[in-house]
């Protein structure tokens, strides 16, 4: 492969700066006292602390999922991680004017303006810095329609009934090792509730930023769309460039009641480590949605370009009849990055339908695995799944793997799986160059064409970010 191809896919990580801000950081290590401390700092009601402790005790009995995922990393010392770190100034604030200017600057630098006047209309943001939410925009506008959009901590204080009802209803605290750890120590996150029949008028967005060294980020997002409601939610992530690995173990739960629709889009760009694989984020995330009522629909769209290791499987439980689950994914690995990602579609409802489109791009010495499960239970008459799983290789030191698991227990259902692997060849690049395009534009075009079906599902604001991330330009509207 030509040197220029390598250099293009090896673009510098632009978000690796550190904000120098005084933080309220607790000592490293984890025990029940640490959990009590986190809960106390957040002023949580007793049910929350009890839930955390149950999760912690369960976690102690669980084993890290080292054996089945196609990823390799040294053992994590869970006593060497800081479980809570908050900028000192991040007290609950009444308005954006009270937010520490250093924090506002940090987000400005990341291209995220928290000032509502400057925001593009149509996107409300919850900004999470290390362990806490520092600002949520457009809260009042949304509240007029009964929509709750706030930090998780605030939701626990202001809407404990909703939190108690739905927390853990899709991802129980004992679901898996990282979900249990998150349940025990999660510090903040976003909470969304859209009432019956309300169509959320703007995109909701959370921007995650890890700043403190050795801090783990354990946020929790819970989105509930009541009957007939609609919400589109965006998630973005970056972290400073550091030499050691940092753990990000988040949990996202989505609940869509009858006729509701949730669209969840992620552009993940955590620091991936340097070319030798030093540093970078371990992104071990559990994301799952439940189509609880008839006709509900949940769509996951993800563009995964960062992190040293990605381990995540945004899934949908298709419980109601005529429910729809979708998963569109672009996962890019480069340098020494490893990704083991995919989805689970669990069909319980009659005529439930799911679509999986996964595009894996491997460059450098990256290793990319698609792991997907389609499960059709006996009750799910007439269920349908379509899976398309494509891998693209750039250079000859990278890897692409596909691990589909299909379990069908109903004879009236249909499951399709298509897979392909291609290599960006000298010939493809040469062909483009012979037509006058330089190497950079040629690769852009080829990679972009490859990812087209996924990008089409991103909201406009994010499509632009995804394009920047891959260093590619999106296809024009012609044709």
């Amino acid at each position: 492969m030509t040197a220029s191809v390598e250099s293009l896919v090896n673009q510098q990580y632009k978000y690796g700066f550190v904000t120098d801000i005084e933080a309220d950081t607790i000592p490293r290590g984890l025990n029940e006292d640490v959990i009590r401390l986190i809960s106390a700092k957040k002023g949580e009601p007793p049910f929350m602390l009890e839930w955390r402790l149950r999760a912690y005790r369960r976690w102690l009995t669980m084993e890290e999922p080292h054996h089945w995922a196609n990823i390799q990393y040294p053992a994590i010392d869970y006593q060497d991680i800081i479980y809570y770190s908050a900028p000192k100034s991040a007290k609950p604030v009444a308005s954006l004017e009270e937010v520490d200017p250093k924090l506002l600057q940090t987000y400005e630098k990341l291209g995220i303006s928290l000032s509502e006047q400057k925001r593009l209309s149509g996107v409300a943001v919850d900004a999470i810095f290390d362990s806490v939410s520092v600002a949520t925009t457009f809260k009042e506008t949304l509240a007029k329609q009964g929509i709750v959009f706030c930090s998780f901590s605030e939701a626990v204080r202001e809407h404990p009934d909703l939190v108690e009802k739905y927390l853990g209803s899709v991802v129980p605290y004992n679901d898996n090792f990282f979900a249990a750890l998150n349940s025990a120590v999660f510090s903040d996150g976003s909470f969304v509730y859209v009432p019956k029949g309300v169509r959320c008028p703007m995109e909701l967005s959370t921007y995650f930023r890890i700043n403190t060294a050795n801090a783990g980020q354990f946020e929790r997002t819970l989105i509930v769309a009541d009957e007939g409601a609609y919400v589109s939610y965006l998630e973005g992530c970056t972290a400073p460039r550091r030499d050691n690995n940092q753990l990000h173990a988040a949990v996202v739960e989505l609940v869509a009641m009858a006729g509701a629709q949730i669209k969840y889009s992620t552009v993940q760009n955590w620091y991936a480590g340097d070319e030798e694989g030093k540093g970078g984020i371990y992104n071990f995330v559990t994301k799952r949605g439940k189509c609880a009522g008839a006709g509900a629909k949940i769509s996951w769209t993800q563009v995964e370009t960062g992190s040293a290791i990605t381990w995540k499987y945004p899934s949908v439980i298709l419980q109601g009849d005529d429910t729809v689950g979708e998963f569109y994914s672009v996962a890019v690995v480069n340098g020494r990055q490893q990704a083991d990602t995919g989805t689970k579609m669990i069909h319980l409802g009659r005529r439930s339908r799911s679509t999986i489109v996964s595009k894996g791009i491997s460059a450098g010495q990256g290793n990319n695995s698609y792991r997907g499960q389609v499960k059709v239970l006996p009750r799910a008459e007439g269920a349908r799944n379509y899976t398309q799983c494509d891998s693209m290789l750039i250079g000859n030191r990278c890897g692409a793997h596909t691990f589909p698991y299909i379990d069908v227990q109903n004879s009236s259902s249909s499951v399709e799986h298509e897979a392909s692997t291609s290599k960006i060849g000298e010939d493809q690049i040469f062909y483009c160059k012979q037509r006058g395009l330089n190497t950079e534009n040629a690769i852009s075009m080829i990679v972009n064409g490859f990812c087209k079906e996924v990008f089409q599902n991103l909201p406009m604001e994010f499509a632009v970010e995804a394009q920047k991330l891959l260093g590619i330009s999106l296809e024009g509207s012609v044709g």
């Binding site: 040469f430 972009n448 509207s477 044709g479």
Partner: protein, 251 residues
Amino acid sequence: MLEIRNLHARAGETEILKGIDLTVRAGEVHAVMGPNGSGKSTLAQVLAGHPAFEVTEGSVLYDGRDLLDMDPEERAQAGLFLAFQYPVEIPGVTNAYFLRAALNEIRKARGQEEVDPIEFLELVDQKLKLVEWGPEVMSRQVNAGFSGGEKKRNEILQMAILEPRLAILDETDSGLDIDALRIVAEGVNRLRRPDNATIVVTHYQRLLNYIVPDFVHVLYDGQIVKSGGKELALELEAKGYEWLTGEAAPA
């Protein structure tokens, strides 16, 4: 326009071109013929700058510039076009997007304004007629799912849109049925102008019934062993290559 002097090139350790001399002037059509493995396609690829080949000796001047010193995209921007023997597929990218991007790169390099999508579609409209195609081909993905003949026709469409000064057609006739051959050849003929030139690389004389060359060159074992007028092609058709090469022609 093009002056090739003592051109030697190799792929890996194998020397393929062993001293080619060829001069092409504006307005001319040259046919390069020869048996399989003689180096015809290599010559086409080397002129376009394919990275698989290394030039070890010789020079190529293109409009007075050192062609061998130019990147493949610079050559394209300077008006050199290669119609590929095996056109490459680019899934997910439409013909319209691909060609507008290419055209704009070429226009930019020449200090011309880029064309917007509307202007582009108007321009394409005329060019489509040349290859007897409807506009729907512009929304198909570049060569993906095209038959062999369609791919070759798509090369000619691209040539029509990019309006090269020097077009090199590499075995454009292979895999074409007689109707497609006629369409492709007529397209090429209608693109002939006094200020551009064409090099037709082919194994068979068949294409030259439609695209009539001014000069015919026979390539054998990396060298031009004979040059002549269009009648040389007919002679080759009648006698095969062995009278020039002293070997049995491949079937």
